[in-house]
Assembly symmetry: C2
Homo-oligomer: 322 residues x 2
C-alpha cells in the first residue's frame, strides 16, 4: 500500500471581484486554513473509495466512466483518475477540511488541487504546474467556466493578481498579513449577483465601466500598499472596495451588517467573492478582536483567524515503508 | 409707503455633489418649499429694519458701511442696498421661512435672491438675470467662493445642471416629480467633507477620478431619465449615487440610517449636499409614506413632502394704493 498526503490552502479574494469580469485587475491570497487529502493506493480491489464528511462512496472501476465530466466530488475524482491514466487498482481518498464549503474560500479549488496532487504524485509527478493544469479542469467541471484564479492561488500559494485571463504571481509581503474571515452563514449567490451586475451594466454602461475602472486602479494600489505593508492604506482600500461592491448591488444586509459591526470596533474589512451572502475579510494586525469574535458568535457567524499562506499545495511526510 | 413681496423656492441637489468639485456634472432642482420676503419702504426714518425669526435688528443708514461685505444677514442686506444705489430711506425687511437653515436646501440662496429681488424691484428692475447676479455676490459673501448653482436654481426655478463653471437650464419634466426631504437634524459639515475627499483623492487619485467620472455619467443619465419620467431608473441612479457618496466617505451613520429606513419601506433616496449630516432626498411617486413619516418622527428627523418647482422667484401681488 502506498499513502500520499497533501494539504492545500484556502483563499480569499482581496480586491476586484465582479469588476474582474469586465477586465479589471483582481487580487487573491491563499490563506493558512487548509484542506487535507490522503490517498491510500493498493493493487486491489479495483475500486475507488471516497470519504469526505458525510459522503461515503465506493465506485467500481468498471463504472468509472459513468462519472466522467460531472461537476461533483466523485465526478472530479473519476475524471482525474482517467486523466492520470491509472491502471485499475484500489484508491481510497480521505478528505479533511477546515474550509467552509461554497462560501468563496476556495474549497472547490483546494479539493481539485489536492486530488490532482495525490493522483499525479502516484505517478511520481509533483510539479505544481501539472497539478494546477489538471485541477483547472476540475474547477471547470464544478463551476462551468472558471477563471483559474482559485486553483492557481491555492496550488502555488502566496498572492496572485488576475486580469483579462492572465495570472501574475505577486511577491509575498515581507510580513505576512493577519486577517479575519467571517462567514455570514448565508449562502453566497454568485450566479445571481453576476447577472444582476450585468443587467444594470447594460442599462448604465458608462456609470458601471467607470466603477470597474476605479476598482482596477484600486487593485493596483492595493498591490503596492501590500508590498509596502502600509496598513492604513490597505484598510482604506478595502473600505472603498466594499462600498463600490455595495454600489453595484452585490453586497446584502448580512454582509453590510458584518462589515459595519467590524467597523464599529475599529476592524476594517469588506465582503469578498460573489456576494449576496458568503464571507467577509478583515485586517487583523494589532486589532483587539475579542469583542468582534463575541459579536460574530452572537450573530451566528463563523469567525476564523488566518493569515496569508506562502505555501500552496504541500506534500506531507508519510512513512511508506510499512 | 411701498410694499414689495417675493417668495423664493428652496432647492435640493439631485446628483453630482462633491464630484462637481472635480469637474463632474451635477443636477439641482428648485422645490416648492419657499422663503417669503416682504420689503416695506418709505421716505423716513433713514433706517434699515430686519425681522427674521429671532433676529430683530435696526441699522442706521449712517452706519450702513460698517456692515458691507460681511457674510451675515445684515451684511448681505447692507451690501445689496449699497449695490442697488438707493438714497437714504426707511427699509423694513420681514422674512418668513419654511426652509431648514444651513441644511443644504438653499436657504442662504433663497435669502440672497429674495433680498436682491425686493431691492431691485424698488428700482423697478425685475429681470431674473439682474437679481441672480446680485444674489450671487451675497452667496459669495456667505460661503466664500460659491458655485452659483444655488442662487441660479432658486432664482430661475426648475432644474439646472452645472459643470466646470457653466450652468445649463434643463427642460422641466412634463410631470413634476414629488419628493420627500428628510432633515437628519445633524448639521451638515460641507467644509470638513470637501477636505476629507480631497485628502483621499490626493492619496488615490486614479481610484477617485474614476468614481467622479462615474458620477458624471450618472448625472447625464439622470437628466435623460428625468425627461423620460422613468421612475425605476431614477431611483436606481439615486441609489447608486448614494453608495458612491458613501464610498468617498461623505455620508455618515445618520444619513445611511435615513436612506436605509426609506429603503426598508420601498422608498428610495440618497443623501444630498455636503454630507456628514444634513438632508436626504427621496422619490415620492405613488409610495405609501405614512410608515416612513412615523419612522422619521420617531427618530427626530424632519419630514417634508415637496415637489419640483417650475417657478423661481415670484413677485406676489400687493396693493400699493393705500
Amino acid at each position: 500500500m502506498r499513502e500520499i498526503k497533501v494539504s492545500v490552502p484556502g483563499k480569499v479574494i482581496l480586491t476586484g471581484e465582479h469588476a474582474v469580469v469586465y477586465g479589471s485587475l483582481a487580487v487573491a491570497a491563499s490563506i493558512n486554513i487548509r484542506m487535507r487529502i490522503c490517498l491510500k493506493a493498493s493493487e486491489s480491489p479495483s475500486q475507488i473509495s471516497i470519504n469526505f464528511n458525510e459522503l461515503q462512496e465506493t465506485i467500481e472501476w468498471s463504472s468509472l466512466d459513468d462519472y466522467l465530466n460531472q461537476g461533483t466530488i466523485p465526478g472530479v475524482i473519476c475524471t482525474f483518475v482517467k486523466e492520470a491514466v491509472l491502471e485499475p487498482c484500489f484508491l481510497s481518498f480521505s478528505i479533511e477540511n477546515d474550509l467552509p464549503i461554497g462560501s468563496g474560500m476556495g474549497s472547490s479549488a483546494a479539493f481539485c488541487v489536492g486530488i490532482a496532487g495525490v493522483l499525479l504524485k502516484l505517478k511520481n509527478v509533483d510539479s505544481v504546474e501539472d497539478i494546477n493544469k489538471l485541477a483547472f479542469k476540475g474547477e471547470n467541471l464544478i463551476h462551468g467556466k472558471a477563471s483559474g484564479i482559485d486553483n492557481t492561488v491555492v496550488a502555488y500559494g502566496g498572492l496572485i493578481s488576475y486580469k483579462q485571463g492572465s495570472i501574475t504571481h505577486l511577491p509575498f509581503p515581507e510580513k505576512s498579513l493577519k486577517i479575519i474571515v467571517v462567514d455570514s452563514k448565508t449562502p453566497k449567490n454568485t450566479k445571481t449577483m453576476v447577472s444582476k451586475v450585468r443587467s444594470t451594466y447594460e442599462k448604465f454602461p458608462l456609470i458601471y465601466s467607470k466603477i470597474f475602472e476605479s476598482i482596477n486602479s484600486l487593485s493596483e494600489a492595493f498591490i503596492q500598499e501590500i508590498t509596502l505593508g502600509n496598513l492604513d492604506n490597505i484598510k482604506e482600500l478595502l473600505r472603498i472596495n466594499h462600498n463600490l461592491l455595495r454600489t453595484i448591488g452585490v453586497s446584502c444586509q448580512v454582509l453590510d451588517d458584518c462589515v459595519n459591526e467590524g467597523e464599529k470596533l475599529g476592524i476594517v474589512g469588506k465582503m469578498t467573492g460573489g456576494g449576496g451572502g458568503g464571507i467577509c475579510v478583515f485586517i487583523n494586525e494589532g486589532e483587539d478582536v475579542r469583542a468582534f469574535r463575541e459579536k460574530c458568535n452572537e450573530r451566528g457567524w463563523g469567525f476564523m483567524e488566518a493569515e496569508f499562506s506562502r505555501d500552496g499545495i504541500r506534500f506531507e511526510e508519510v512513512n511508506n515503508d510499512n
